[in-house]
């Protein structure tokens, strides 16, 4: 099977409910979205729909050395080669974190790039996080999205990983599993 187009009932049963940005977050609410963090119209063309598997736009791989240096396999971050993902009501959507977003730069001068709500247009999603494609074929997936990943249950995370695998991404690694080893 080359791809699994949409979320199935079985996926949705574990991933539900859809949540709005920061929903359930202990410190933030949707009002905390900054200017430039709420729109997605200008990014729709480059947001990759992972239901088709394949590589997202601006595809770049981390080296094994970078995985070690930035601890990407246990939940660390490396913006240069980071891809943001969310699972919305249909499928997984992916975008390179350093996709320019000049509008956001006015309120976050050090980060004039996209964020998770630029994928959803600040709409609802099941869950989100970051992913790193490694040259060794492994894909490190974490749930570091304060908008859509912060409050996710273990069951939700597990199903998110399963769904990504069902989209035919190979060697998907949950960084939280590695962290606890």
């Amino acid at each position: 099977m080359s791809c699994m187009p949409l979320l199935t009932e079985a996926h949705i049963m574990e991933l539900a409910p859809l949540i709005g940005p920061f929903e359930g977050h202990p410190r933030k609410s949707e009002r905390d979205l900054l200017d430039g963090e709420q729109h997605n119209d200008e990014f729709l063309k480059i947001i990759h729909d992972g239901r088709e598997n394949a590589n997202p736009n601006n595809f770049t791989q981390v080296t094994v050395e970078e995985v070690t240096r930035y601890k990407l396999d246990t939940g660390g971050s490396f913006a240069d080669k980071c891809f943001l993902w969310v699972i919305d009501s249909e499928s997984i959507k992916i975008i390179w974190e350093l996709t320019p977003n000049a509008k956001r730069g006015a309120s976050r001068p050090e980060k004039p790039y996209v964020c998770h709500t630029n994928i959803t247009g600040s709409g609802k999603a099941y869950i989100g996080g970051e992913m790193y494609f490694c040259e060794n074929g492994e894909i490190y997936v974490n749930f570091s999205s304060d908008r859509y990943g912060y409050v996710a249950t273990q069951g939700k995370k597990k199903m998110a990983i399963q769904y990504i695998k069902d989209c035919n991404y190979k060697q998907v690694k949950n960084t939280e599993d590695n962290l606890l080893k």
């Binding site: 410190r27 905390d32 200017d35 939940g75 320019p100 000049a102 006015a106 570091s144």
Partner: protein, 293 residues
């Protein structure tokens, strides 16, 4: 800080026209700060009141009075290029995107690219039609210059602790001096570069970490003065902390789902995270739930 004055170019074709200036050809080349100030205090600026105020704030700032800022206006980028060729290099450019005789896009984009290529200036792209020009600004050619420009909506007061013009003001003053009066939501605040915030725009970290209302309330308590002591007070008043596994070099939030599996964890106050690591590390941890040292 620069030893020579900070050259600030203000490119905008909507400066008020006064007959005397027009007759004397003032608009045909570099408009000096004295003339810009004259326009700012004697003319109607209609929808550009915030730009008018920015000019007043820059020219009357202590840094400008001390000769540390040289503000120069041009009614078109095409008038600025000869000055650049002659050696007047801007450090900061406030770049209006729309010009009467140009469309919304290609000319403005090409001129912006020319400025970025010919100078090392930081450019504030300034537009009243910001959302319509995103397609030009978020382009591959401009992406390589991303660290050197910022896009602002003229007179925007939304979603940020600083209005557009307040942000530009603090940036200019910060280039000229380590301290000075900046504005937050119209309130004058004395900013001094300190152990925690290297420049005034770093106040945005506080805004994002604690929220706007908290910061505006705290600024009143510290007598509208941002320095090492007052930043410490702002942090300490919040009484918030992260959890730290020193052996593994892991910082997590108090609500991180796997915290029970990451023992031993010790509490580390926000201010100590900033002292020991950095304010960006604190923010990263709050955003991602976890970060590594």
């Amino acid at each position: 800080m620069k030893s020579s004055p900070v050259n600030v170019f203000l490119l905008d074709d909507e400066f008020p026209i006064i007959e005397d200036f027009r007759k004397n050809g003032i608009y045909n080349g570099a408009i000096n700060s004295e003339n810009l100030y004259h326009l700012a205090i004697n003319s109607e600026w209609n929808h550009l009141l915030d730009l008018q105020q920015l000019i007043k704030d820059v020219v009357t700032s202590q840094a400008c009075k001390e000769g540390l800022i040289n503000l120069v206006g041009f009614t078109s980028p095409l008038l600025a290029f000869p000055e650049i060729e002659k050696g007047l290099q801007p450090d900061v450019v406030i770049y209006d995107w729309e010009y009467f005789n140009s469309g919304l896009g290609p000319d403005s984009k090409n001129w912006l690219l020319e400025i970025l290529n010919k100078t090392n200036a930081f450019v504030f792209v300034y537009s009243k039609r910001r959302d319509e020009i995103l397609q030009f600004v978020n382009s591959k050619e401009l992406n390589v210059f991303a660290p050197r420009f910022q896009l602002f909506l003229k007179s925007s007061k939304d979603h940020s602790l600083f209005t557009s013009e307040e942000f530009i003001l603090q940036y200019i003053l910060g280039c000229a001096s380590n301290s000075g009066k900046i504005k937050l939501q119209g309130i004058e605040v004395e900013f001094t570069a300190n152990d925690y915030l290297a420049k005034a725009s770093d106040i945005l970290y506080l805004d994002r970490i604690f929220g706007r209302n908290y910061i505006l309330e705290e600024i009143k308590k510290v007598d509208f003065s941002i320095n090492t002591a007052s930043v410490e007070k702002i942090f300490n008043d919040s009484n918030e902390f992260l959890l730290f596994n020193e052996a593994k070099g892991i910082l997590i939030t108090t609500t991180y789902p796997l915290k029970d599996s990451l023992s031993p964890l010790t509490e580390i106050k926000f201010i100590d995270v900033v002292k020991k690591f950095s304010i960006s590390k604190l923010e990263e941890t709050l955003e991602r739930g976890i970060s590594f040292i």
